[in-house]
Symmetry: C2
Subunit: 332 residues, 2 copies
């Protein structure tokens, strides 16, 4: 039996190149050697978007389309909708007894997110507790591994603490500790050069972007503000186009030579951007093409979600039944 991965996304928008670099690309590789559960975490998305349920709902299908478009194969991956697997809520409720409030308050990932989102007095209990819900998602499927960014490692530690505590109190090894697969690749910046590509920052290139949108967005990228004439020497540091080429240009030798040429002077931004546009379009075009095919057959996409959700529901229900047996919560 293949080892199990649990991974997924909050459906708050279509996926973009940042997702591709940070997770989707790896998932396509992982599907060879792992059984992958792809959770579309709509309930988790509601913890800080509870007043916009339509937005979350609509994006569930968008995310599923992106999964299919990048080549995640429904035959080898179980893609499911979190809110349709109620056993996850039940498991969360029991795991909440095994974590202290002060421990959650110390979780660095949560602390950073609370700061970023500007929660203060307005922090919803649901958002505060989502690391426990995430632990339940992971533990319900007996995941062996979870791919994470290096800033998410505390979530895995939290999950394993919960698993160990459960096992030590109730005996046995009913909940399985999980390994983090920490991505080796850095974080893709936005087209504005800001540290993170993000839909909400308005600096994203989406996997569904048209060739025209793609060209427009690359042309918006900053290069070197002092690189005015083609003959001027240009700087690499902080040059967004080079940042992107570092991520996507597989011809390392040519890229090295381009950098030298740019620094010396005589290489225009237009030529550089043209190269990036071609590279990105050769990546996105087949994804965009497949996405359009699936868009014209939404019934199939829904069926993939429905089948995956049914399977996830069975597995999670069985796990919760086991957990409740161990906790003696059986009466009839």
């Amino acid at each position: 039996m293949k080892p199990i991965i649990l991974t997924g996304d909050r459906p708050t928008g279509s996926l973009h190149l940042g997702h591709y670099v940070g997770s989707l690309k790896n998932r396509v590789a992982f599907q060879e050697d792992y059984r992958q559960f792809l959770i579309i975490a709509d309930a988790q998305a509601l913890t800080d978007h509870f007043e916009r349920p339509e937005m979350v709902r609509d994006n569930v299908v968008q995310v599923a389309l992106d999964y299919l478009a990048v080549g995640l194969d429904p035959g080898r991956n179980t893609c499911f909708v979190q809110s349709q697997v109620p056993a996850l809520c039940e498991l969360t409720s029991y795991l909440m007894n095994l974590v202290t409030v002060s421990r959650l308050q110390r979780n660095p990932t949560i602390k950073e997110e609370i700061k970023q989102k500007g929660f203060d007095e307005s922090l919803p209990v649901g958002f505060f507790c989502y690391p426990v819900s995430q632990a339940a998602d992971i533990l319900a499927f007996n995941a062996d591994a979870v791919p994470v960014g290096d800033d998410q490692n505390p979530m895995i530690e939290q999950t394993n603490e919960i698993a160990r505590k459960f096992n030590s109190i109730y005996g046995g090894s009913y909940l399985k500790e999980v390994k983090a697969i920490v991505g080796s690749i850095g974080r893709l910046p936005g087209i504005d050069g800001k540290t993170k590509m993000s839909k909400s920052l308005g600096n994203a290139i989406f996997l569904k972007d048209s060739a025209e949108d793609l060209r427009r967005k690359v042309n918006l990228m900053f290069t070197d503000p002092n690189h005015i004439r083609v003959s001027d020497p240009g700087s690499i540091a902080g040059n967004v186009v080079f940042m992107f080429l570092d991520f996507f240009d597989s011809n390392v030798q040519e890229l090295h030579e381009l950098k030298q040429h740019y620094q010396k002077g005589g290489l225009g931004d237009g030529q550089l951007k043209k190269r990036l546009i071609e590279i990105l379009d050769s990546l996105i075009a087949p994804i965009r093409h497949r996405r359009m095919q699936y868009e014209s057959d939404i019934g199939y996409v829904r069926k993939v979600l429905e089948d995956g959700t049914r399977e996830a529901r069975e597995i999670a229900s069985e796990k919760v039944a086991e957990v409740k047996r161990v906790m003696k919560l059986t009466y009839f």
Copy 2:
């Protein structure tokens, strides 16, 4: 249709005279005019007893026996086991988005309980969040009213805040605000005179206590330490036997005369205790008798729980389905 009451107990021990005075007696009266849902809150009990699941489990049947023994009629009340109604976890998880962490921290009932239980750094998330879970219990059954002690009024306010917030965000009036029925009677002290009768304080007279246990416990009660000879004048204030007579002696005129006699001198503690023992035994004996009958037919008790739980499960599932429709969490 009769108005609906939601009420119940955490199964952490057999019920005692404090429960009888504070809630059970009223419930027996309420069953005439209300449809009553009696929740045996085993999942809630686990929020601060998670390391003792057997204790919680065993007490579920003990509480059900006490309900039947005091005369709560399964034909008119729906008695159910919380952990066997998973829809309540699901509803809780969505309501958690509508409450802020700082609001929970300000809840006076929770603050007091956290202090009493000596939680500090060790406060479990599950316990911290139980007011939200309690709100879900109440709202899932469309309760019109919840009988509470005056110290529990903040729980009702919290529930109604959640209901109002849900209705204002998602539109309509899907969650019904509830009324508190605040008990007019005070809190029964323990046999040691401490402010609260409680199993964990070891100062309780249980509804299942034998006549012998009852006699022993009353004889342990403090009276007036300066009332040494029968002829000595005695004091009423702080006299535990008189505290109990105030609760249970229905002959107000005779009790008044006894107090005068005791204060003047010439009335012995033995005579006083004999009176209290007779009064309490006339209350407890029929309860004890019915309890023994049900104990000899545990299959029937389980059946009552199972039937009630099935009914509760249907109602709560329907409510959660409605809530999820309103929140657009429907896909297939």
